[in-house]
């Protein structure tokens, strides 16, 4: 049995993740499962070997995720898509997801200290007009009932985002309401 050492604060450090129910053993994966994993290397991850129990859903989810975050031919810069993911995770309370996407936000924005303030102070941290608008929109989107409204759109526009970039914020923030719920409920992070 592996020992779980759960983190008690939000961090940009690399964390592990331990499943509470049985992932598929690597030796049992078939071509149908590898299609679901999309990247074969994901067979090494406990999280993806758990989700691959439903390969069709995992494949579609993975391809949705990749296009929302990695397709930077146009639209919102990658750093701000990652900021939306990190802010959503901070607000929902997913320490694991926040760690991954805070690191990405730092890498792409070169604003590691600001990203750390989001983690340390929470979603109310003052990160400048543009980042504040993205964080606030993500938080409103994460609330249930959903609180995202015309004021969020107006604020994003004032901060310089056009409609295509606003759709990237909507997609990125909405997607992390999917990801957070899986990571939080099927297992736990470990240092």
């Amino acid at each position: 049995m592996s020992t779980v050492n759960p983190p008690v604060v939000f961090t940009q450090d690399e964390l592990g993740w331990v499943s509470w129910i049985d992932p598929l053993p690597e030796a049992e994966l078939t071509e149908r499962h590898y299609a679901g994993l999309v990247d074969r290397a994901r067979a090494k991850s406990e999280y993806f070997r758990l989700l691959v129990r439903d390969p069709e859903v995992l494949e579609a989810r993975t391809k949705t995720d990749k296009d929302i975050f990695y397709n930077v031919a146009d639209g919102l810069p990658r750093a701000e898509r990652e900021l939306a993911a990190a802010a959503t995770s901070r607000y929902n309370g997913c320490i694991y997801c926040a760690s991954v996407h805070a690191r990405f936000a730092s890498t792409y924005s070169k604003r590691r200290d600001d990203v750390q303030r989001l983690l340390d102070e929470g979603v109310g941290a003052d990160l400048g007009e543009r980042w504040n608008a993205v964080v606030k929109a993500s938080v409103a989107m994460a609330a249930t009932p959903i609180a995202f409204g015309p004021d969020n759109i107006a604020e994003l526009r004032r901060a310089g985002l056009d409609d295509a970039e606003i759709v990237d914020v909507i997609n990125g923030a909405a997607f992390f309401n999917w990801a957070n719920r899986l990571m939080l409920s099927l297992g736990e992070p470990s240092k």
């Binding site: 008690v8 579609a60 949705t64 296009d67 397709n71 995202f148």
Partner: protein, 204 residues
């Protein structure tokens, strides 16, 4: 040709509109959000999670987010599903019984403890347990946790589902379904809000 795009339909996005063109720039995401919907609601094999249960959980989850075209869509889907129609009234009543505001929940003991926020721990009403059955009772209780306070989830919740007749694979698909709907209902809401903001701006 395939089914109509479900997010476009629910968000009221017309072919040739500005938002149609913007969504077309993320074609892989658009197509795979649709494939996710199909994989969850028209699966190759529904053995571990029958279709009526999927529709019941979907109606419950989207209803907990408040009345919307998405909630109406899944309510109608439940009514149209074999063995689902008999559950419509019970689900409607449980949505009212479970409504609250999220996200809330506890953090691990430490510096984040001051951010812990208590809230409703929902349990299905005793009177509706017979019509829903053990599997769905466990599913609705877990779905409510996922919707409103996912950070409270613990390994004991997995054991509760397993003890109520859920397989490990069934739990994975069920978790994906609730999590996917949390995404879908937000994308639709966000796109509708953006479309409305653009229309009112054009008018002013």
């Amino acid at each position: 040709m395939g089914t109509q795009d479900i997010i476009d339909t629910l968000a009221g996005i017309e072919p040739g509109s500005t938002l149609d063109a913007i969504r077309a720039r993320r074609l892989q995401a658009r197509e795979n959000a649709q494939k996710s919907y199909l994989a969850l609601f028209e699966p190759i094999d529904a053995g571990d999670f029958p279709l009526a249960e999927r529709a019941a959980v979907a109606a419950f989850v989207t209803g907990l987010h408040g009345e919307s075209p998405v909630a109406a869509f899944y309510r109608d889907k439940l009514a149209a599903t074999t063995d689902g129609a008999a559950l419509v009234e019970a689900i409607k009543a449980e949505i009212e019984h479970g409504k609250t505001s999220g996200p809330y929940g506890a953090y691990p003991a430490g510096p984040l403890s001051i951010e812990s926020k208590a809230g409703l721990v929902y349990r299905v009403s005793a009177e509706r347990k017979p019509v829903l059955g053990e599997r769905l009772v466990a599913a609705l209780e877990h779905a409510h946790l996922l919707v409103f306070h996912p950070r409270d989830a613990a390994s004991a919740d997995m054991k509760a589902l397993l003890a109520s007749g859920w397989s490990t694979t069934g739990i994975v698909t069920f978790s994906q379904l609730v999590a996917f709907l949390s995404f879908q209902v937000r994308v639709v809401s966000g796109l509708r809000t953006l479309a409305a903001a653009s229309t009112s701006e054009a008018r002013s």
